[in-house]
């Protein structure tokens, strides 16, 4: 992938988010303490927040270019976003959640089939249920599958393991690896946990108070 983040400037409560980077690895970790502006960066890429200035392009497709007055609305960006609170629609069943974005795929049809995604994430037994009686790990997988089924060109994962206890984290990491390897999608992975970076990412950007403070390759992916 080629994700261009140029001249990004977004005033936040305590500081201004300012990023300039070009990302080319399949999985890029965005690493930093709480309140560093990581979620705001994802919101900008998804088009949910408007920056003071920015040029954001994904593989030659311009998503935001404030200088040229271009702001593509979120529904056209084809970016799968799994927010930290997951935002599973509480009034819809698991199946309805999964299918919410499925019909809106590209003209060529959905990128990933319903059967395929639910099999990889082992969701078949859950589809008839409501979202209220799912466990934390199950909710995480449903949110991930819902994003995948909308045929995204890029996946944004915001602290996918932060709310889970240690034992459950170890169970979800293999699912994230399967998604990474099976669907070959570029992923931005926000976290404040070094172990997750090592387990999943090819490269990591370090952020503090809205600035990039470091960037390093993770040489060998753990098996």
């Amino acid at each position: 992938m080629n994700l261009l983040l140029q001249n990004i400037s977004l005033p936040l409560a305590d500081f201004t988010l300012e990023i300039d980077a070009q990302l080319q690895c399949q999985v890029t970790g965005i690493f930093g303490p709480s309140g560093a502006g990581k979620t705001s960066l994802l919101d900008l890429i998804a088009g949910l927040r408007q920056p003071a200035s920015a040029r954001i392009a994904l593989n030659d497709r311009v998503l935001t270019d404030t200088a040229a007055g271009v702001v593509m609305p979120p529904r056209l960006r084809e970016i799968g976003y799994v927010p930290q609170d997951l935002a599973l629609f509480p009034h819809l069943s698991v199946r309805q959640n999964l299918l919410y974005g499925h019909r809106n795929g590209r003209e060529t049809g959905p990128l990933f089939g319903f059967e395929h995604v639910t099999e990889v994430l082992q969701l078949q037994p859950l589809t008839a249920r409501g979202t209220g009686d799912l466990s934390g790990g199950e909710r995480q997988r449903v949110a991930l599958a819902r994003a995948l089924l909308s045929s995204p060109r890029l996946l944004l994962l915001d602290e996918p393991l932060a709310s889970l206890e240690a034992g459950l984290k170890a169970k979800i990491i293999p699912y994230l690896r399967r998604v990474r390897d099976e669907f070959q999608l570029p992923i931005l992975y926000v976290t404040h946990d070094e172990q997750e970076v090592l387990a999943l990412c090819d490269e990591v950007l370090e952020m503090q108070r809205g600035r990039m403070t470091g960037r390093r390759r993770i040489n060998a992916r753990n098996p």
Partner: protein, 222 residues
């Protein structure tokens, strides 16, 4: 109950239901604009919408009388262009009930819409949904209980409206006489038995409305 008395009951229930139905689409639109957007003049509109709730109903009725009368801005238009008279007809009753119950509907719906986490709407957009689809599949269902509550409040307010109605529609038996107007009129004429029968019907209607809202909310909770 005589046939005339039943006519009063039927007319009241019908015109209150119709007024609630008529104000529902604009009420939801205003509530949504107030709950989800910031725009110049917003607080002015918010105040104007609330005004009938705090002003004396008779004063609101006087304003309506001036606006809807043949020489009023709206009444003149209806009279000259559409050959419709409003004041002292059932249409005036409809207008009075609609205006008086509008704030209750808007306030309740606005509150219900504000309770919906905007994150759900944002994520629905990233999944490819446009504004209309987001509203009808996410926002509205999640706010539905509060909106139904507002509809029932508005309907109940319309059922009992007195002050604005008497100003703009008057008490005309068979034409504009509602339950509230008829109770007052009966007492004035010393027809206590009639007044008590209307009173009984009022209590029954109020009871049914409150019971129906409770039933609906229990059913929603599943």
């Amino acid at each position: 109950m005589t046939a005339n008395e039943w006519q009063v009951v039927g007319f009241t229930a019908w015109v209150a239901a119709l007024s609630t139905l008529v104000i529902l689409p604009p009420g939801l639109a205003v509530a949504w604009l107030l709950a989800r957007h910031d725009w110049p003049g917003k607080s002015l509109v918010e105040t104007l919408v609330t005004l009938p709730l705090v002003m004396p109903p008779v004063a609101t009725g006087l304003i309506l009388l001036k606006v809807l009368g043949r020489r009023g801005a709206l009444g003149g238009f209806f009279h000259d262009r559409l050959h419709l008279d409003i004041v002292f007809t059932w249409r005036a009753v409809l207008a009075a009930l609609g205006v008086m119950s509008f704030p209750l509907l808007v306030r309740s719906a606005q509150w219900a819409l504000e309770q919906v986490n905007p994150r759900f709407e944002q994520i629905a957009r990233t999944l490819g949904a446009g504004d209309l689809r987001v509203f009808f599949t996410i926002t509205l269902p999640l706010a539905l209980r509060g909106i139904i509550g507002g509809v029932i409040l508005a309907f109940a307010r319309a059922l009992g409206e007195f002050g604005a109605t008497i100003m703009v529609a008057g008490y005309i038996p068979g034409k504009t006489a509602t339950l509230s107007l008829s109770i007052y009129q009966s007492v004035q004429l010393g027809e206590d038995a009639t007044a008590y029968r209307f009173l009984g019907v009022s209590v029954a209607l109020a009871f049914a409305a409150v019971w129906a809202s409770g039933w609906f909310m229990r059913r929603q909770r599943r």
